[in-house]
């Protein structure tokens, strides 16, 4: 898939339209000019979410009440679709070819794999970031998994509340267990679905890992179920049923759900050692890129097309050698969007990249030999 052009209106400090190259797009400019905002706009168009804020209204330009991000996506030579995300107050509306769409049908029209500072949590933060990484991957293959996750979270919230209320009301263990049953029954089904989907996705990632992309160290990953060592994982439902029955008292004491897929993790090893504890900052970044590239590859073998690859502030995150390795790997595969504030990098890639300079939110093409889809329009275009 290809993002041919992007038109933005009152999204942060951006306004105007940019046409992109099918290869490497290098977005540069001084800090605070809005480079990352362009990347965020692409990410928003793909995921309907921001990688910086949970509250959409924060992305609307100050003193305005409506932000629009609209892009033309080419799925093939013949098939082009216009996607649009409109933010008004705290609500977002989505449309495809000017027709409103529900999220479930909108997602999947444009897929991105994004390397951002926040995403480093995957290799150095808590298990939550790693579960989210896996879930994003599963959703990229099966959109209906979004509903499975939503149902699971809902069941966990209900169960947590029930456990707290049971403790407050000093209910007996038997009574609490009886009240938990309708929720645990759903928890078992959904948790099993999530477990299998993540295990399958990790298997696919493992097959696609470019283990030694950045040198001789080897990256490996393994899905770690919280039920591991508790019994036979091949009959997941039976094992989980057993554990839930045994642990009612512990869950009552804790006041929240202790067992299920929401407690699982992804183990990331670098030369056999746990990345989070033993990895240097450089190794952690390398490992994350290797994971992201594996996600790109898995997406490609499933859909027979590449997602977009986004990378914010590339030189802050990677050294020169790694940048070169990465961009070389991506060449001929993904449409890539990279931001930088370093002149040196821009000069080094001037002959291979489509250069876009961002000043005060406005993006301007810098003349190079690299082709693009059509001409660049700058300034505050009316939408």
């Amino acid at each position: 898939m290809l993002l041919e052009s992007l038109e933005v209106h009152n999204f942060r400090n951006l306004s105007g339209k940019v046409s992109w190259s099918p290869g490497l797009n290098l977005i540069f400019g001084d800090n605070g000019q809005g480079k990352t905002n362009w990347l965020e706009a692409i990410y928003l168009l793909a995921t309907t979410k921001s990688f910086r804020t949970q509250r959409p209204q924060e992305a609307i330009r100050f003193d305005e009440n409506l932000a629009i991000v609209r892009g033309v996506v080419a799925r093939s030579r013949e098939v082009q679709r216009e996607l649009q995300v409109t933010i008004q107050g705290s609500t977002k509306t989505l449309s495809v070819n000017s027709k409103r769409e529900a999220v479930a049908r909108y997602l999947g029209q444009l897929h991105t794999v994004a390397f951002t500072a926040d995403e480093l949590e995957v290799v150095r933060g808590g298990p939550d970031a790693r579960r989210k990484f896996l879930d994003r991957g599963v959703v990229s293959l099966h959109h209906t998994y979004v509903q499975t996750l939503a149902d699971y979270q809902r069941v966990i919230r209900q169960k947590n509340r029930l456990l707290q209320d049971a403790a407050d009301a000093e209910l007996s263990i038997a009574e609490t267990a009886a009240r938990l049953e309708p929720w645990n029954e759903q928890l078992i089904g959904l948790s099993a679905e999530i477990h299998r989907a993540r295990v399958d996705y990790v298997n696919r990632l493992n097959e696609a890992l470019e283990r030694k992309l950045f040198g001789h160290e080897e990256v490996s990953i393994r899905y770690v179920s919280s039920l591991e060592s508790k019994g036979d994982l091949s009959d997941y439902e039976a094992l989980l049923t057993d554990r839930l029955r045994l642990r009612v008292q512990a869950e009552m004491a804790a006041g929240y759900a202790l067992i299920g897929a929401h407690r699982d993790d992804l183990e990331i090893l670098f030369d056999g050692r746990d990345m989070r504890t033993f990895g240097s900052s450089g190794q952690q970044r390398s490992a994350l890129i290797i994971l992201d590239l594996a996600a790109v590859s898995v997406y490609h073998s499933w859909h027979s097309e590449y997602p977009l690859f986004l990378m914010d502030d590339v030189d802050a995150e990677l050294d020169r050698k790694r940048i070169d390795h990465l961009l070389e790997y991506l060449e001929g595969r993904t449409q890539t969007f990279v931001t930088t504030s370093k002149e040196g990098l821009v000069e080094r890639y001037a002959d291979r990249a489509y250069l876009v300079e961002v000043t005060n939110g406005i993006a301007q093409e810098i003349n190079t030999s690299v082709s693009k889809s059509s001409t660049v329009i700058t300034g505050t275009a009316g939408i």
Binding site: A104, T144, Q158, Q186
Partner: protein, 204 residues
């Protein structure tokens, strides 16, 4: 100081207590009331009072009714051997529209939801089990209870809870099927529904 005169503020605050009504809608409703003629306002007030005065819960099925038992429970034309359990009175209306169900109903007035503070004892369930005894059902034995709660996590939990209650009694308990809306093109069915329909496929 209040933004609006006291009576207007009071009315806005009352509207805001209603489900799904926020500040903006409450304001719009209040100003609409101010524009209404005196006769229209009286009609609205009378309708509100009348519904409170005349509508009661059916003592058998909990349906909202102006006569007790309600017209379903009192009817001699309904099949008394089958009871369909729904969450809300408007779910009953939806099933009635099919004209293919001729059994009785049982309305819970809600679904299990610890988050919303709804426990089993908050549902209108206590009068369901006695209905299954023939002596409480015009001598007719109930052979099936259909659980038609909503297909979301709360509705599923409620159905699961009731099926556990009914199990020791040996009455046949069924859950309505989830899946494809009929009369629609496969193309227009959302993926989640399609997924469920595929998972729940059956032999023909």
């Amino acid at each position: 100081m209040l933004e609006y005169a006291e009576p207007v503020t009071k009315l806005i605050d009352e509207f805001k207590r209603l489900p799904g009504v926020g500040q903006k809608s409450a304001q719009r409703l209040a100003f609409h009331v101010l524009r209404m003629s005196e006769a229209e306002v009286e009609r609205l007030v009378a309708a509100l009072e009348e519904v409170k005065r005349k509508i009661v819960f059916c003592s058998i099925c909990n349906n909202l009714t102006d006569v007790d038992p309600c017209r379903f429970c009192a009817s001699t034309n309904r099949d008394r051997s089958i009871i369909c359990v729904v969450e809300e009175p408007y779910n009953l209306v939806a099933i009635e529209k099919t004209r293919s169900y001729h059994g009785l109903y049982h309305i819970l007035h809600g679904s299990l939801s610890p988050i919303r503070g709804i426990a089993p004892e908050d549902l209108r369930l206590a009068n369901l089990l006695p209905r299954l005894r023939p002596e409480n059902n015009d001598g007719v034995e109930v052979r099936e209870v259909i659980l038609a709660t909503n297909p979301n996590t709360e509705g599923e939990a409620t159905a699961s809870y009731i099926s556990r209650l009914l199990k020791p009694l040996g009455v046949r308990t069924t859950r309505i099927a989830m899946g494809m809306p009929v009369g629609s093109d496969l193309e227009y069915v959302d993926e989640v529904t399609m997924d469920k329909a595929l998972a729940n496929r059956h032999d023909i």
